[in-house]
Homo-oligomer: 419 residues x 4
Amino acid sequence: MDIPDFRQNTATRLGQTRRISLDIAEPLSAEEQVVQPSEDASPTKWHLAHTTWFFEEVVLKPFDPGYREYDPRFNYCFNSYYEALGPRHPRLQRGLLTRPTHAEVLGYRAHVDEALRRVTGDGAAALPQAAWDLLELGVNHEQQHQELMMTDCLVLFAGNPLQPAYRPAASEEPREPLDVKWIAFDGGISEVGHEGGGFSFDNETPRHECLLRPFRLANRAVTNGEWLEFMNDGGYDTVALWLSDGWSTIQREGWRAPLYWERGDDGWSQMTLRGLLPIDPSRPVSHISFYEADAFSRWAGKRLPTEFEWEVASEGVAMDGNFLGHGALQPCAVANSEGLSQMFGDVWEWTASPYVGYPGFKPAAGAVGEYNGKFMCNQFVLKGGSCITPDGHVRRTYRNFFYPHQRWQFTGLRLASDA
Amino acid sequence: MDIPDFRQNTATRLGQTRRISLDIAEPLSAEEQVVQPSEDASPTKWHLAHTTWFFEEVVLKPFDPGYREYDPRFNYCFNSYYEALGPRHPRLQRGLLTRPTHAEVLGYRAHVDEALRRVTGDGAAALPQAAWDLLELGVNHEQQHQELMMTDCLVLFAGNPLQPAYRPAASEEPREPLDVKWIAFDGGISEVGHEGGGFSFDNETPRHECLLRPFRLANRAVTNGEWLEFMNDGGYDTVALWLSDGWSTIQREGWRAPLYWERGDDGWSQMTLRGLLPIDPSRPVSHISFYEADAFSRWAGKRLPTEFEWEVASEGVAMDGNFLGHGALQPCAVANSEGLSQMFGDVWEWTASPYVGYPGFKPAAGAVGEYNGKFMCNQFVLKGGSCITPDGHVRRTYRNFFYPHQRWQFTGLRLASDA
Amino acid sequence: MDIPDFRQNTATRLGQTRRISLDIAEPLSAEEQVVQPSEDASPTKWHLAHTTWFFEEVVLKPFDPGYREYDPRFNYCFNSYYEALGPRHPRLQRGLLTRPTHAEVLGYRAHVDEALRRVTGDGAAALPQAAWDLLELGVNHEQQHQELMMTDCLVLFAGNPLQPAYRPAASEEPREPLDVKWIAFDGGISEVGHEGGGFSFDNETPRHECLLRPFRLANRAVTNGEWLEFMNDGGYDTVALWLSDGWSTIQREGWRAPLYWERGDDGWSQMTLRGLLPIDPSRPVSHISFYEADAFSRWAGKRLPTEFEWEVASEGVAMDGNFLGHGALQPCAVANSEGLSQMFGDVWEWTASPYVGYPGFKPAAGAVGEYNGKFMCNQFVLKGGSCITPDGHVRRTYRNFFYPHQRWQFTGLRLASDA
Amino acid sequence: MDIPDFRQNTATRLGQTRRISLDIAEPLSAEEQVVQPSEDASPTKWHLAHTTWFFEEVVLKPFDPGYREYDPRFNYCFNSYYEALGPRHPRLQRGLLTRPTHAEVLGYRAHVDEALRRVTGDGAAALPQAAWDLLELGVNHEQQHQELMMTDCLVLFAGNPLQPAYRPAASEEPREPLDVKWIAFDGGISEVGHEGGGFSFDNETPRHECLLRPFRLANRAVTNGEWLEFMNDGGYDTVALWLSDGWSTIQREGWRAPLYWERGDDGWSQMTLRGLLPIDPSRPVSHISFYEADAFSRWAGKRLPTEFEWEVASEGVAMDGNFLGHGALQPCAVANSEGLSQMFGDVWEWTASPYVGYPGFKPAAGAVGEYNGKFMCNQFVLKGGSCITPDGHVRRTYRNFFYPHQRWQFTGLRLASDA
């Protein structure tokens, strides 16, 4: 019996995705992979193990009668936040997991990969559709952790006095910044959300109508150069620009620039995956909180787009861009082009939309129902993916979400205005 | 020259409102009025002074050339959060303001009231429209603080081991709880927000279209009896019912019931403005957080309404109910009636809507632009007013807002569902 | 049957002491007496009630069969830290006790005073010696709270933007500071601790021998002028002067001067019980922590005396000085005199001695055994009393104790050195 | 020219000590050596580097003109708390030091060891006495860190859900616990402190006279079995046994047993360097705070000895015992013997003595003056060394010190009483 094409596709992408995780970890030694660099971030080794645990716990144990659990203690070690799957190691102590060792985690991966190859190869016919759906979810889940492996590595290296580079920088000519152009969009009723056909997370559904007013979007993301203007104009000292919670946050934290920026004798530099680099004014600003994005937009006399404005505007925009496969590992200056640029890749763009469920939203059944739904409070939606998002991971309807104070992701912004 | 009617109306309501604040404070001694009972709450005396400061700073000093400032140090003492109006006494130290004394604050009120009578009486013709608008704002501002005076007094008395009553309870027969009925509403495009004509806060504007799907609303608020069912069914112990932030909140705070509930040998009682009373199953549940309201609605297989569903449904519902003037000082059991009950008064109803600006929202000009706009983050909208909201204060379009963990207001919920 | 003289003496001092507490509270209104101004400090009303509770709970209830308890709820309200006497209102919420009202607390005092007069008057013969001992303890206990009433009032007024004075300052000529003279003392074995005959706290016993090396003591306390030299010489910025815990404390708290000092255009001022006054260089420095005293002594090339050096040196020094009855309410400049000055009164002098039990120390029996013993850890001994210590309260053997970071008492220092 | 014997001795012990550190680290992989397991503890790799930095910074750079600094950035990375030696990496972020790598740190050690061999070998004659003294200090410093490497490894493994053993346990027969015998000692004037001749830390000097009263010491340490009696008798629930700060600590932390104890179906077990083992009633109790030691002694009707009682009693006791070289890696049951047992090795014994400077104490000159003196506040003295103290490290006069709440060292107690 033949495997249908889409299943073959899942199996292929599964194998590729599993390999890419190892590729991402490869430049890091075992001692680099074990450390938890902050409360938000997790150790590389933990990411490698947790993504493996996901397949073991969600696919292999329920659906593969012949599967032999690798180590019964790993469920406790590598469950992240699934209450339905039992007690787990405290999030803030992930860095204490020197055991299982790095080598054991690689063994765990090999064991699970072997089982995944079996159930998607010779055993593919026996695997019910529900399991294939969960495999597809597992691929997307692992892609999300690939992005986290990169951002969390940057936290680690930025906290190290030797300021190492994940990968050294190639010498590059700074590009000339381009002026913003404003693209106008009509209002009216539009459909938003995922329409089915291919994978999506539950939080992108159900597809539904929304009502928009005419609006304009900037053709590109806000740049470091523009952010320096904001700083030089006293942006961080002007209370009238800030949400009340934002103002108290920047006072408490002492923020006066994006995360990883440091001022030296020769001006501002930024710690990046390519080490400490001078600020390039033409690249998109990154590592800013929602509060900062919001204050900047007020300073500029504009506003953030809603998630639906962004989604409607993105129709027809090609979903390629500066993603992980591009290899830049940092946001890149926009090229001279027509229409909307940098919608996909470069930086996650903060929207004005609180992260809540769509009308009629129902979480997925089972433990994976905890994947998205229980976080629908106190966070904001971001769109478009970043320079370290794995290729093929995001969609127009993709909804990323973070708390308004968080900055360790590659987060930036694009301005909008009423028409 | 005659004063137009609407101005006369403002002047009249101004005088009434100023008197009601004193009436509310009257049962409390000076030593009761000085204490700050919690981080959220403020001293009664501070409320009396701050509402007076508002008129002095926002109306009299800018618009009345003959006004003599009462005491230049009071701006520092009684500014709440208006960054544009200078530095101020720290919020958490309001209880240290034993000076100015209670008597001095009453003198301050008399001085400002005298000036207000002058500018709205003999001097009314000279007062520009902007000042009249701000007077109207001041009236509504003071009404909000009247509600806070009551809730903050309850915080104070609930924290006192002698559990005093603000006003003793009249003996009352408990009413029979009524079954819920579900009222259906059509979807489609509706107009929401304030349409002008009469006072509104800036956050109720601009009026705009929204798109709703068909929905149902419960005809009454959720009762204490229903909440006890939720508790007895393990609602506070069932993680699957809770938002992630809600679950961590109730664990951290040890919440196992609404605020002010305490379990005794004879079952549950609740500290109220009328002292410690046994839980009455027929009254609306109150003093719950958004997290608890959300979890309850999930347990009930329903959801919270959005603010727009609530607003559209409220069309045609009379804006009377169990408000402050009714004198109950606690939510009351619903009477047998047709249609939607308890929409106005009794308890503020949590909605599913994060508190953000409406499309095209512009904060009011000047310092009062800080009134609402800078809080449009991390909070949720509540509708309808409570048993201690001053009569005539709320509107269908009125948007109250609190953080999802806050419980010291008279906050409850009404269930909704998709049609 | 006649009452022995010493009992008559106790009865007389009891009456006087109870009256003095009311005198101290008298300038403060009810609304000033209810507020808890900091975590360390308590409301005046609470002090008035707690000292009364002490007599009721420790003397009247156990020893007076005819005593009628004033209100059974007051034990919960006004117990401070006696675990043996039942649960109690949380220390940090003493400011919530608007009820019982100020008037009720005065009634409580009158009721207990009446009973105390009875048992020490007509009923004196029936009262066993243990009760007389506890009455004497209660007098000394109330005196300690009289000092706290003053220091806590200063916390309250210093936290008030209007900076009120407890009692206005008389105009006074600043006195010329006197040079330090060094008084030498021999070493050898000396007896320290209370020798019996008259009241002492249990922590002053047993009297025992200690071995001292020859040492010198400064003839007077360190002055504000000397402290300014320390500040101007970078004392607060020189890490080598500080204990490690002291350095981290002043960094965390941002201390750059004694408590209540503020720098204005005309130099330094200090908030005092007589309002905000310019720093007088000739007066003893006050409101410094042990850490600051220790750092100053290192800066000066000296050290703090031990409690035993202080006690031995104090032999023969008259136990009068600038105490509460003197009326200055602040430390005073030393007069030109022979020998040791300012040993008693003016400021509590930090010693180098950790507060631990003397060899063979046994806490008093019963609930009052919690009075001192359980605090013998992490604190330091201070000697000599202050400008607000009630007259007749301290002795040469008196051991006051505070944590090394605490500054809200009238705490200063006297330098010592090896001979 | 020959090197004097005592210098040869220092050179020999230097080489041995440097090797022992590597031996201790050897069972741990690079990924185990990089993690900081708690605020109190440091990574193994950091200990290896810091002890090396100490020799480089304190001996080689000042005294060896030919020394080539290994990496100028390491001073920032591996300075612990020496303010005089410049800014340093924050203590709580030592676990972020994935770079320099484990291999680089080994290279650093080799480089410094090579230089140390040179200056103490061929160059020994040129090295001034001050440098030899600092070498001796460096040896003792590294021995202290060897003990910390073991205790910090236990923190790491105890925090790991797999509960690994540093070295597996040999099967062993539990020994029969022996009854306590009380040894009496006379009072009088004794000399305490280091008398010179051989190395000591500055805090052991100057030698001075102290005055003791007659006392008794238990002949052995308190055992696990006795601690279980304390627990079973409600020791952790009886407020009257505890210092006030101790009681609030155990409430806040939820302590109901020594650190690392856990209750299972078969009774209590304890995480040790040999993995999770059942509690052996005959072994000394370990991993208790001063607060617990103090409460236990009160429960037992005894008290803790002072440091001077302990020191005087130890005269004539052989300074051997269960130290690191013994290989047990845990406290051992006492053998049947005469006189005082377990004075050296097994567990550090809490004394009743706050850690302060001796009369006439002067810190060592230079940066190493920060070694001990600045910590003379808020800590307590412990005596005798533990089962993981390097052989030959402690002396009768040795003063270890920890805060009263700390439990991660091998800390126990021995009872004392007045004679």
